[in-house]
Amino acid sequence: MKSALKAFPSKWLAVYAVAYMVFLYAPVILLPMFAFNDATVISFPLTGFTAKWFGVLWQTEALHGAVRNSLVVGLSSAVLSTVLGACAARAAARYRFPLKRGIMSFILLPLVLPEIIVAVALLVLLMQLGMPLSLVTVVLGHVLICTPFAIAILSSAFQGLDQSLEEASFDLGETRWGTFRRVILPLVMPGVVSSLLITFTISLDEFIIAFFLTGTEVTLPVYIWSQLRFPGKLPSVMALGTILLVLSVLLLILAEWFRRRSARKQGIEASATGGFA
């Protein structure tokens, strides 16, 4: 009786979980499916296996330019937002200042602001300033939306830092800079790596802001969008999407792996250092 009672809800839980996973990931699965499908039209039934669409990607010059642009934008945004995030996280963890809570929530606001609003606002602002649209403006926009993520990730890293460690270093004759280099940096490194990987990933697949703020040079998502107008290009876009999907997942796994590994090395509970994934 007792076991029946127990088995019943757990069975439904399993059903629910599976349904949920299908709902989440079925559309994503379609991507690689059609990427390897031997037909120009995206529809069932599948006609045969091919890798030719990946070959097409290899020969598209415009795509390579877009990839380069995306990498440049992604790397710059990741580094800039992580540096900014580290400063904010450190200040929040270490100092008390008036209106701290208000200021911190204000900084985190772009997390929930509709991106289209941010994009339009930025565009208007840049027009007013007379700044020409280029990859630089895209980077600025991406830094704006990536920094809140960086702060969220780095806050837990800085919060977990025992203040007496810094004092001990200082007490042992080390300078402020030396303390940062020899104690603080190594200890928040997993958070920094995690933040770099995640902000890079965000920037890499961000579309709206890139679409509004880019000039003649396009980033990868903007390029993909422009290709959707040509039905014949659709399968190769699917192939490209598949590559990006795999890369994104790999980056996220890498970020989490880094965080856990260093947490283990320091003998700290992995969840205690915080993390995103």
Binding site: E167, A168, L172, E174, Q266, I268
Partner: protein, 367 residues
């Protein structure tokens, strides 16, 4: 043989510290001597840790001066003071090995690698951690972490080692052992140690001198023995060990003696040597007497100077000792009497009438 005059290493003059409207320290004056084991003892919030952190250079006094080894420390940051600290949390760098932790400070001095390695080895030997240099910090037990923190401070050869409740995280047995080891190490090295603790037993067993602090002030600064025998006020008396307080009245002063009436024990005369200076006789309301200075007289016990009668109301057996609660006539609270459990002496059951012996020289008067 004459003992050399103590040489001051730290001079604290008129130190105050305010955090907003809260006054953490209200005028601290003290001199700490070279080679001394000095303790700051007090309940939490009395300002002892703030004072220690000021000596280390992590806080600056609102007012007053700190002189270490003849040099005024105003404006000298922690990394340029001749002090090193053992933190309450030990603050072992979690990403470094034991040897790198201990050698951390030496590396800032830009010493050659071989010399650092040698010094680190010596320091680890000193704290009985020889051969553990390559261990990772998180592989250490609590006691070992404490030793690493100590070695890390000692290897810097500081003039003063500051210890912030270093034993509070250890279990009782290990704590007792570390007390002895710390004391021996300090005596062997001859370095000044300043210990912050709220544990009176720890302070008594380890220190040369103790400053008892309450509410940002030093209530009494004395050797452990003097603190225990002649606490200046009721607060110090009840913080250090157990003290029985009895009502008393001064009835007069004659040829060098002070006549006292203690309703619970009787009338006595005390020699003036036992009367603290500046005692206002009018204000005298209470005297103190330690539990071990009262004895329950058994048949064949040694005679005592005075005898009062009391009734046992309760006992607590501690193995080597038994603590009796005894009601004395004319005194509302029970007094505590501790008796050593010697061979063939049985425990007196509650309800028994017993003679209580005491001596005038064990009476403590407060300012």
């Amino acid at each position: 043989m004459t003992t050399p005059l103590p040489k001051p290493i730290i001079d604290l003059t008129g130190i105050t510290k305010s955090f907003g409207t809260f006054q953490a320290l209200k005028g601290i004056n003290a001199t700490i001597n070279e080679g001394e084991f000095f303790s700051l003892l007090g309940p939490s919030g009395c300002g002892k840790t703030t004072l220690l952190r000021m000596i280390a250079g992590f806080e600056s006094p609102t007012d007053g001066t700190i002189v270490i080894a003849g040099q005024d420390m105003a404006g000298v940051p922690a990394n340029r003071r001749p002090t090193n600290m053992v933190f309450q949390s030990y603050a072992i760098f979690p990403h470094l090995s034991v040897a790198d932790n201990v050698g951390y400070g030496l590396k800032t001095r830009k010493l050659p690698k071989a010399e650092i390695a040698r010094e680190v080895d010596q320091a680890l030997q000193m704290v009985d951690l020889g051969g553990l240099g390559s261990r990772a910090a998180h592989e250490l037990s609590g006691g070992q972490r404490q030793r690493v923190a100590l070695a890390r401070a000692l290897v810097m050869k500081p003039k003063v080692v500051l210890l912030d409740e270093p034993l509070s995280a250890l279990d009782k047995k290990l704590r007792d052992q570390m007390q002895v080891e710390l004391r021996q190490l300090q005596q062997r090295l001859g370095i000044t140690f300043i210990l912050v603790t709220h544990d009176q037993e720890e302070a008594l067993t380890m220190s040369d001198r103790i400053a008892v602090m309450f509410d940002g002030r030093i209530a009494q600064l004395a050797t452990p023995e003097e603190l225990y025998r002649r606490p200046v006020d009721r607060r110090v008396a009840s913080f250090i060990g157990v003290m029985n307080f009895l009502d008393a009245r001064a009835t007069g002063r004659m040829n060098g003696h002070l006549a006292l009436d203690i309703p619970a024990l009787g009338s006595i005369e005390l020699p003036s040597a036992q009367v603290p200076e500046g005692l206002e006789l009018r204000n005298l309301e209470t005297i103190g007497i330690r539990p071990e200075m009262l004895t329950i007289l058994f048949e064949g016990s040694e005679q005592t100077e005075h005898v009062a009668r009391g009734e046992v109301t309760g006992t607590a057996y501690y193995g080597d000792m038994t603590y009796y609660s005894v009601r004395l006539p004319g005194h509302s609270e029970d007094v505590t009497i501790s008796m050593r459990n010697t061979a063939g002496r049985s425990i007196v059951p509650p309800g028994s009438e017993v003679p209580v012996g005491w001596g005038a020289d064990s009476i403590v008067l407060f300012q």
